[in-house]
Symmetry: C2
Subunit: 334 residues, 2 copies
């Protein structure tokens, strides 16, 4: 099977429960501002007008609740993806945890490079190297065991630069937006290039998005029924396509079966999802979160390998997509 | 790719909208019997006790709404699958409709056999023949076009033996049960061996199950964005595994991400889904619809190729699964 390097890296980009502090925004009266964490500017106004239009049965732009599907990318759209996708940091950490049981890794790449913090070798990893990492950190265990591994990571590890819990590095204005859409009978889905189970491990307590509304890249499973409880064993094999770029519309059709009316992304990996959502009849809204806030988070776009944003940013004006400035539109970030 | 004949046949087993007459059961007061179409026997009592237990916060068997996932097979569990899966009848009909544009089919198998009603040749179709049928009837068009083809079939064709609309051949006690579970905050999913888009074409008006809650066998898509509106072209290639037998738990984990607490099937294709659901901790319920009603529907099990029921029926007693008799438990069928 074809597993392009980019694809696997994206697959490794992906948070977790433990703290539920952020998820609960108290219900407000209908006259209260539903987006208090957003500055009163174009992005907020456009979002509120759109929601008013599609929920107003008297409006020409009315959309029935069945069809109110909104899709959000995860890495860089709902939480921080710098300096590396969290799922990739999980992978590197997992190799270190497993190393005592694998003395052979001291001389075997890419494990040796990880254990020795040899960044030069890590940056030149080939497809086969990445496949080896996926095989030992994401496969060969039951689904339940993998979820425990992810839980442990979130409980015990901090972000390498911000020194925060990963689950606290979620953008609160985005969580507020998800809640606002849900209250207006939108069905909100997360469509991530990362592994679906990695994001499902924290989507409910942190984002308020149920597991079944998380769509992502999939590993193939092996069904095992020799013990008491039938289990699914994770295999080191991707189910094509990876849920990134053209894979996003494919996964959306496969798992939702409707064209969304709102899409929110932050990188070129979301380009086709934005096009698929907005280039069709009826009211449609596309948004791109632009990371321009080096003080509160990170500033990057065309020069960044992680969360590379170029094609989609260039297309935004032509396509009528709203470019949301983290610096100017978010009152708060985390 | 491996495409066993059985798998493709199952893939071709799969209804449709137009009439919404059945879907609406009027809301009743909470004291009203929620399962009036079921005889007061073991199956009904077990279902009602189970629902009471898992929804009662005081009960030891209480299950939070997030985890109240119920899965239903489609062919033979929610609607008639005899004498052939409806999706297979759609396929044969589609070949006849397309034949005027394909004079070469007069001499090419398996098309020739279909056009000449040559049942002997049809029964000996090889994997390659079935792949040819899928290619011309299910692939090579956009998703929208395929849905129109399915709509047309349901509007214009009748069941070959009962002479009824296919959408009227849905088991009303099962629709009532779905509604009962939904009112008790169950998330009801259809898990079909048939093509997911075939069932999504009618799941909302007929069953009251939203498209995104239909899981089924998937064809691979090609993303096309050269025209005004980006489209998904259906390819003659199955995404493994077919959603039947061990494929059912795999698809459930992939698309829902939780182990269901209730599973309802009718054939050996549902065996692993029933095991995966019931052989685990906590309150669990497995049910098998037994077709023993030759007067009102059909009577078949171990001898039938379509909806073959043997392994799962033999296991029912050992596993504690409820065998629902269509004859004795259903007050009405359609």
């Amino acid at each position: 099977m074809n597993t392009p390097k980019h694809a696997v890296i994206v697959f490794l980009g992906g948070l977790m429960l433990s703290t539920m502090i952020h998820a609960e925004t108290k219900t407000k009266s209908s006259t209260a501002d539903p987006l208090v964490l957003w500055q009163d500017q174009t992005a907020k106004k456009t979002l509120m007008t759109f929601v008013r239009d599609v929920t107003d049965p008297e409006s020409k732009k009315y959309v029935t609740p069945e069809d109110r599907v909104a899709v959000f990318d995860n890495d860089g759209t709902l939480w921080t993806e710098q300096p590396l996708y969290t799922q990739l940091l999980f992978t590197l950490n997992r190799v270190k945890e497993l190393a005592p049981k694998h003395p052979e890794w001291k001389t075997e790449q890419p494990f040796k490079a990880i254990l020795e913090h040899d960044e030069k070798t890590l940056k030149s990893m080939k497809e086969g190297d990445i496949a080896k990492l996926v095989a030992v950190t994401h496969a060969g265990m039951t689904e339940e065991q993998f979820e425990k591994d992810v839980d442990e990571f979130f409980k015990n590890q901090k972000h390498p630069q911000k020194k925060m819990n990963y689950t606290d590095m979620v953008y609160q204005p985005m969580v507020e937006l998800i809640r606002y859409l849900q209250k207006n009978d939108f069905k909100v889905f997360i469509v991530t290039g990362g592994g679906v189970e990695f994001v499902r491990a924290f989507s409910e307590p942190v984002y308020g998005v149920p597991k079944e509304n998380v769509i992502g890249s999939n590993l193939q499973y092996e069904y095992k029924s020799d013990g008491k409880t039938p289990e699914l064993l994770r295999k080191a094999e991707l189910v094509p396509p990876v849920d990134d770029k053209i894979g996003k519309p494919v996964h959306i059709q496969r798992e939702i079966g409707r064209r969304p009316i709102l899409a929110f992304g932050n990188s070129d990996g979301d380009f086709e999802m934005l096009k698929f959502t907005t280039e069709s009849k009826g009211p449609r809204l596309g948004l791109i979160l632009h990371h321009d806030d080096s003080q509160r988070e990170y500033a990057y776009d065309k020069e960044s390998r992680v969360g590379h944003l170029e094609e989609a940013l260039d297309a935004a004006k032509r396509e009528g997509w709203i470019v949301v400035s983290m610096k100017k539109d978010f009152k708060t970030v985390y």
